[in-house]
Amino acid sequence: MEDIAIIELFWNRDETAIQELSNKYSGYCYKIAWNLLNNHEDTEECLNDTWFAAWEYIPPKRPSVLSAFVGRITRGLAIDRFRKKQAAKRMDRHVADVCGEMDELSFSYMVDERMAEKELIKTIENFLRKLPDADRDIFIRRYWYLDSIKDIAKRHGVSQGCIKTNLCRNRKKLYRILRREALV
């Protein structure tokens, strides 16, 4: 079913909307949640939460890109679920790596306006848009979809070392840009 028709079902409060959304995007969202949770039960629960969150959000929202909209919900829910379980559980190597890399890009800074916080997301988006297509895809697959290095290497048909290099270079580049923007 076309995205626009699924969204119409949500707006009409037709409960088949959830089934249609699940039919179309369960594979897509499962991968996102699985990348972080690595557990079938947790991933399934995360997906159920995603469909019901979508029911809550639509309406009033009318997503322009439905895949990104539900993927974003799944990612947020998976991160929340992961954090709750993190203390009690030893982290998987892949998860530890991707979290460590994202932590490298987190920092404290002084700000007196909420506006400044908003600018940083724009800075990230501008950075991504100026990257070559392949670099942007690699960066988003790693830090939005939380893919493993191995999966990204497979997707692009290059060695894992090449992907690590690419990510390392662009992390450093982004970190410098973000720090500069935060200080200004």
Binding site: R136, D137, T165, C168
Partner: protein, 386 residues
Amino acid sequence: MKRYFNFSEEFGRIDETLIAEAGKPWTVERSNILKLYRRKIVQAAAIILIFTAAAGNSHVQAAVKRFTTKIGEIFGFSKDLSDYTEIINQTQTKNGISLTMNEVILDDYSLIVSVKPDYGDGKESPYLWINDEKTLINGQRYQSISSIVGGGMDPEAFAGNEIDPETVLVQEYDDMDLSDGEIEVHLVLEAGAHVPIFQENRSERIAEFVYDFTISAEQLKAQTVQKDVNMEIPGGDDRRLILKELVMNDLHSRIVASGVTWDDRWINEYEVKLKGQDSFGNPVSFLSAGFSSENELRFETSFFGDYEGDAVFDADSFQMPVPDKNCTYLDLQLYQRKILPDSESVEEVDDEYYMEESLDPSEMYSEDEDYGWEPVGDVFRIQIKE
């Protein structure tokens, strides 16, 4: 006020178009089709050029007449594909580009369409591709594992030549397991200049063409041979490959093997292929095509034959490496070729990471040394029929 910038949270809020773009399969069409497939496209182009130039020759003329479909002609299939081919013949015009979709072939492993584009008076030939994200087969989206283009796509290869612009687009899939009967296809083609994603008017510069039609994959599926092989053969570096399944029809053939994983050192240091002949004496070649899952290595026949970059061939000698589906056995041998890193591309980034690209083997190895391919183990036989 002190604030903490939490990257993982902030990154979750990035623009939806960026997320959606990265959510699509990574295909060469979306980045730079000519860069990655130049060699293959030029090979396909060469076949067409030779056929065109030799049309007056009675021997070649006879060969040309064997092709009853455009798809067969452009890729040089030795078998008549007309029984499997659905003629659509629908023309749509958008943004000054006119696309006529002529032929479609569908089976569990591929969607093949022939399209005749008319780009009007535009000086620059736009790119043409199948939108994997929007294309639905029986209402379902399948993620393709590769995309191939044959025919009139390469502006450089065709510069100055008055040549049929008919283009064949192929999406290859792992295994769609299509149902019997009529299958509904919602095919979305896109054509336009290569516009970087960050350009605001990007969508305006890409024309979308939607074709809805039904097609039966039954006949091709019925003539597809599937054989459990379960044969162990020696691999390089003391590995053992287990050939699990063979699938073959008139379009393509594949062998699925286990015994190595994606991160295996041998498979990362060597290219591999299975080469030999079928019981009719047809040369066959299955090239390593990556992993379907972590430990399932796919060997596939190629639409472009098993030719090296500087190999010279003409229409008469060009050979599809697909075995005849009626053959009783395949005699094959495993070959490996060392992947040579380009030392000039190695770049130190920090202590841990480095970047390397591999060199084009056809530039490193000569024809005399079989372009670097060396046999592994002995010739073995896959018995298909008793």
